[in-house]
């Protein structure tokens, strides 16, 4: 199996894997970064969202072989201390129910807020529409994104 060097959370990581292995499974199985979750495997739920060069991307769709010169950030690397404004807002609003979808939600929200510092309610709802929360914590996600936006501006 070929060897790949990835740049993840500010560190170079080397992995041996089949070329078509999705980043999601590289993170989870090879690198022990299990914060990125598996929900559907077909780009429908957003549980596996990471940042690639700052953009929210579904890691279940990204083959390891094409990721050699990009910067990857996962939930574990979003902040050094869990105090990214989005994480803080998630805590303040007590968003999670089962919690499984939430790292994907946080990664989507944090990339979105980098682009749009002062989003309207409609924009938030549109930005978060792609992330399924089976527990339907949507009211709180919406509120938390607003709170995070206030913290970031």
């Amino acid at each position: 199996m070929p060897n790949y060097t990835l740049y993840i959370n500010g560190k170079e990581r080397s992995v041996t894997a089949d070329a078509d292995t999705p980043l999601l499974w590289i993170l989870r199985d090879e690198l022990n970064l299990v914060g990125t979750k598996f929900g559907c495997g077909i780009a429908q739920c957003g549980a596996c969202t990471v940042h690639i060069d700052g953009v929210a991307i579904r890691s279940c769709q990204m083959q390891v072989s094409i990721l050699d010169d990009v910067k990857i950030t996962t939930i574990e690397g979003l902040s050094a201390d869990g105090k990214h404004p989005v994480q803080e807002a998630w805590k303040e609003i007590d968003v999670p129910q089962c919690g499984y979808c939430q790292s994907g939600q946080i990664m989507t929200a944090s990339a979105f807020l980098e682009e749009n510092k002062n989003p309207s309610e409609e924009e938030i709802r549109e930005a978060m529409h792609g992330n399924i929360c089976r527990c339907a914590s949507y009211n709180r996600i919406e509120k938390a994104v607003k709170v995070a936006a206030d913290k970031m501006s």
Binding site: D29, V34, F38, G39, C45, K91, C98, Y100, R134, Y138
Partner: protein, 738 residues
Amino acid sequence: MKFQNKNNFSRRNFLKTSVLAGGGMLIGFNLLTACKPDAEMPVDIENLNFNDFNAFIKISDEGYVTIFSPNPEIGQGVKTSMPMIIAEELNVEWSKVNVVQGVLDTKNYKRQLAGGSQSIRFGWDALRQTGATTKQMLVNAAAIKWNVNANTCKASKGIITNSNGDKLGYGEVVKEAALLEVPEDVKLKKVSEYTIIGQEIVNVDIDKIITGKPLFGLDYKAEGMLYASVLRPPSFGQKLESFDATKAKKVAGVIDVITIGDKVRNFVKAGKNNWTFKLSETDKVVVIATNTWAALKGKKALSAVWVTDTKLESTQDHDKILTKVLDGKKQNIRREDGDVHKAFSKADRVIEKTYHSPFLPHNCMEPMNFYANVTAEKVHLVGPVQTPEYAASVVADMLGYDIDKVSLEMTRMGGGFGRRLYGDFVYEAAEISNAIKKPVKVISSREDDMTTGIYRPSIKYRIKASIKDGKVTGYHLKEAAVGGNMYGLIPNFFPAGCIPNYKVETGNYRGNITTGAWRAPYTNFLAFAEQSFFDELATELNIDTIQLRLDLLQNVKGTSDKSIQYSGQRMEDTIKLVREKANWGKTKDGVYQGFSAYYSHNTHVAEIAEIELKDGFPVIKKVVVAVDCGVVVNPTGARNQVEGGVLDGIGHAMYADFSFKDGKPSDRNFDTYRLIRMQETPKVEVHFVENELSPTGLGEPGLPPAGGAVANAINAALGKRMYSQPFVKELNDSSILS
């Protein structure tokens, strides 16, 4: 942990204390025994050792309190709220409390609690008593030190004081306290004295969740662990004939391809099954690999031949069967008051409607998975399951191990919704590990999860009511279900006791599709049917739909009928609260309201949905909810549960479509199976009825009324009644929009 030998017991509270060798005091108690209404006291309490307990409180020399809870979290917040109740009576600051999920195994923890709507209700008294008893022991120890009467001492925020102005922290008296007699009669606080209960306490696992720490079953790893993906029949009712693994074995990372099935099947054949084992009647092909991707890819590369020895079922057949069951005479009478048939024959008018629901998959966000390590000596199981004790006992039986040799650790669960009550994935993991004699984790893809599920039964309700002199005189509900009927006490929910002639009958067809509990089992659809029907009755009677409910409820107030499950008064108060908070009937133009109320899981809930029309299509804007769940232990957690339940109810009522063709599920993943998403989500506003009654469940009761509230709002807007789910299908089929 190491203990000193001297232990103390309380017979009444089933609690035991000990000095910890490393410092501090340990209190052992039984959360599940505590949480069962009529728990049996073990006969030989003196001989219990700490392994017989499943929950512990540790108070350190510094006064820090650690609550070891065996309680797995499925998203209902009990891992936070149950310790809050202990801390309240213990009189410690919440900031000094740390909640840890104990490492669990069935050997050492015989009685495990799987969480759920009932945990708080059953645990309320015992948790308070555990906290209060412990506090009293600390106070007693301080009193002895000071040589004063304990009655003159007080404890607050972890500090004991006396009338002389002396002070001792809990940590300073733990050693002495642990050796004292356990007091039997402790005084519990009044609701007005609460300082922790009723506070907004954030989920205890929040930091781990927001930083992506391993918490869930899917995150669990062990040394040398392999990954397994299981190929099951594509259609319900099929069995494995043969398979070809040549291509699969060529996939990089695939180690082996095996079959399993014998162990579970023998277990089932021995008559020890329950019918959810239907999934286990065939052999399955298992791909073993070094990583998840290889396992999933290997499974795709398999080819298999499946045979059919029964008729493969389709939704169309089910539809006909259900109608036949409704028309037939062979029903079970579940409750009968008066004489409905007489009432119908004497009526001015008789109204009859039929409601239909599809099968539903659970779609927990975390797909089913489990870890097993079967060695010659023992079996170790790890993962998310709501029935750990049962699952471990099946594995022991199935593989021929003594139950003492089987341990099971629970992880946090990425959703349950009833799916994780069934341990099919645990047995698979155990059977695979047994075959390969290596630690292994079974992982379902979303497709596996959705197509080999344990579905909510498909149901039809036929409801008939008679009207005489402007009153509802008779009510007859028939249930026909594919795969299981309503259970136990449901026939005694509203409107039982409100209508003099009342009858509930059920009939069942058992087919090939595996069915089981789905969040708020049965009432999730029953409430929609009944609450839509009452709305229609109100129109017939030309009376306000809320007023109709309130009028009916007067008949059940003060009833002497002990079988009636709900309270007429509490339901009335709940309905009045939602009516006021939602400004019922006073909305602006273009906003349409729908009302629904339902009692389930010991909690009374009333909801008013508001919709607006966009291009003629209803958009749900807001749902106002009133809930009577007694004392609200943790308002933020409680609201979160209700919000989730309401949206779950709405999402499935609006969009969830699932069917079978020749035994094959119609949907495999979220590309075609529609779950509610952010832009379809209304605002949910939750109000609690304030009272001092014991707390009741919240994980489920918010769900059942939601579908009816939306359906009735749709009728208010479009003049069109919803008789089947999902509503989008009804609306698209209707002439209104075409």
